[in-house]
Symmetry: C2
Subunit: 408 residues, 2 copies
């Protein structure tokens, strides 16, 4: 038979989904599984936005403009303006999810063999898009001790080579929840200017900031040629299945190049563009309500985690993720054990081992990512389960270490 | 400013869409433009399928399975079975349009620098996906004189190198409308076996065959490891904006590899999977009705074209395209002239110059593609307009040539 491509062979399987068979087996045994492993929000998609799709008088479900419906792009200008981002609708290309925006940025701004620097831990699927585009992800490590703050300029400079074309930032961060400060953005700005780099800014979680306000890369001065905003409505409106994102840039050459990639795949999905357009008209307090809900969950989750002996969880400033270090030597093994061999009052929890979010081998081995996409009542029970599991886990690190870890 | 990638620079703009500004200008002048240039069907999307979306009780628009909803894939097994294609639902991956199926096949089966042989003229966006995947399209030319039949095995063998990994076929063909015979499929089978090649089969227009029945590459015997079916519901149900396609293969390694690419982009669009699933339940005569409508249009278009002095249009066996040679030296110039400088009774026509469908330079310069996606009444008027244009066109090839061309 013909061979699989080399890139197909090195393409990573989803680290978040690899435990799924164990979760399915647990459910078949009758165990309830609390899913803290994936970023699928439980918040209902706004009814008015769903209704806009239901009531749209489609006769022929036609291709849209390759860059997305003009009416939707014009509406988005209004949305971005409300976030302090000043652009026009010619600077927006609607993509099939944030995923496609990332792929288009990689394809349009980098060639095979080029390098993009990304603070790790980072969203694991960046690796997949890098393999598709043939580009190399170069990690600079951020650490749980500092709450995953931006690595120092020196760390970035050590990572920069002649092949470096871009720095990529997710703000607020998936998986760490870290919200970058204005000062950190200035550092990034200086690096991009000094080394003539693109700055890819993934702002999927813009609406979910709990400490201070969100600062967008699009607000950096003098960076019109460098900044590519990668966006999505998946989390913003709890519309992950809509597969609608956007690539926004004031760099005309990048815009025109990405439009060629957009034309090749014809158009983004029509139904969900209707949804996205209608969602811009949601009342102003819509995000306040969802944000307050997530803030409550975060406060509860972080408090419960830090109350557990041997567990440390820095307080995340945004998104709906928290990273925690556990008193275990290998979180991959622990997470599988939770699904395969443990239950507490008929329940267990599914977590995402952090190793899949690091590019440097052997990093983050004792860390997990928790997505707080469950109601507070469910989070309380899930934390009871995790607490019991850490007591029962046979390979738990002895208590001396526990205490050291918990005094961070 | 940072540079655009080299692949971004060589990425071709859509040859079908490059005349759009001239069409828009014509409309602004008050000229009616008959669009025979794009494959956007005017047939209404089945109401029952649209209603399935409207009535679906979405609360949270969640990610679906990365390979598509299991219920939809199970339904598709039934659909394929009715077409004589025997597969199970584990062999289907739902993609974002046929476009993504093509890209995934290229990424999973070929590496950068590898070659795929495609009979030309071919669907122009194959070039775009080839640039994205870094692979080389190697054309073997088919000719209007034979109605664009498959080139000879010798022509293929001349094109095969050590880097050749696949042959790609579109059946029935876009842009030529050619429907490949069983004997031609046997030729392709022998080539794929002899040279250990993948056979990518784009069957987007499967339902639209007017001469004989459709033969699918999936029906070739002993080719389970070689054949990758690339499919879409865009034309089948007039649902282009849904962006739902499929990659189907019995090759387990290719399936597993493509699933990793599918996981990286999370999931195909949720709304249109509902539409696709409901569409499988359409009454059996659904395709008969649409096929008869297209057949009437084809018969009219081809007759009218061949009645024009100097024009030759072979009778296409399927799809909803026809290729015609015109008594002009440069169809690109003629098509632009139609939009910029001509009208007949207040109307003009927009055609797709064929040059964009050829990879070999200077090929098909006097050919155009016509999509018969208009009602017969409109086709009649559009043909009146084209006939008048060919008489008035100042750079028309003198009548001696006309007669020669029309005696094909």
């Amino acid at each position: 038979m013909p061979d699989i491509s080399k890139r197909g062979q090195i393409m990573p399987a989803s680290p978040i989904r690899k435990l799924v068979p164990f979760a399915e087996a647990a459910k078949k045994r009758g165990t309830r599984v609390f899913h803290l492993n994936i970023g699928q929000p439980d918040i209902e998609t706004p009814k008015s936005a769903l209704d806009a799709v239901r009531n749209f008088p489609f006769k022929v479900l036609e291709y849209s403009h390759s860059g997305g419906n003009e009416s939707y792009r014009r509406k988005l200008v209004k949305y971005y303006s409300s976030k302090g981002i000043d652009i026009n609708y010619h600077q927006i290309i609607i993509t099939t999810g944030g995923s496609e925006a990332i792929l288009f940025a990689f394809l349009g701004c980098m060639d095979a063999g080029d390098e993009v620097i990304i603070p790790e831990p980072f969203y694991a699927n960046y690796n997949g898009f890098a393999v598709e585009a043939g580009v190399q992800v170069v990690p600079v490590t951020s650490y749980i001790d500092s709450g995953f703050a931006l690595p120092s300029p020196e760390d970035f400079e050590k990572a920069i080579t002649k092949k470096t074309r871009a720095i990529m930032i997710c703000n607020p961060n998936n998986p760490t929840g870290y919200l970058y400060s204005r000062a950190e953005w200035d550092t990034l700005r200086q690096l991009a200017k000094k080394y003539n780099l693109y700055l890819f800014s993934d702002e999927a979680y813009r609406e979910f900031c709990y400490e201070g306000t969100h600062f967008s890369a699009m607000q950096l001065e003098g960076m019109d040629e460098n900044v590519i905003l990668l966006d999505t409505i998946s989390k913003r409106y709890s519309a992950c299945g809509g597969r609608i994102g956007a690539l926004v840039t004031r760099n005309q050459a990048v815009h025109d190049t990405v439009m060629k990639f957009a034309q090749a795949r014809l158009s983004p999905p029509s139904f969900s563009q209707i949804l996205g357009e209608a969602a811009v008209d949601l009342p102003e307090d819509y995000f306040n309500t969802t944000r307050e809900e997530y803030r409550k969950r975060r406060d509860l989750l972080v408090r419960r985690l830090n109350e557990m002996s041997g567990v440390f969880c820095p307080n995340p400033g945004g998104a709906f993720y928290a990273m925690a270090s556990l008193p275990v030597t290998d979180a991959d093994v622990f997470c599988q054990w939770l699904l395969e061999s443990f239950s507490y009052q008929g329940s267990t929890v599914m977590l995402a081992p952090a190793s899949g979010f690091y590019s440097t081998p052997e990093s983050g081995l004792n860390e997990v990512r928790l997505a707080y996409v469950l109601h507070c009542d469910a989070i309380e029970v899930a934390m009871d389960v995790l607490q019991a599991a850490l007591i029962e886990y046979p390979d738990r690190i002895p208590s001396k270490n526990k205490i050291e870890l918990s005094t961070h």
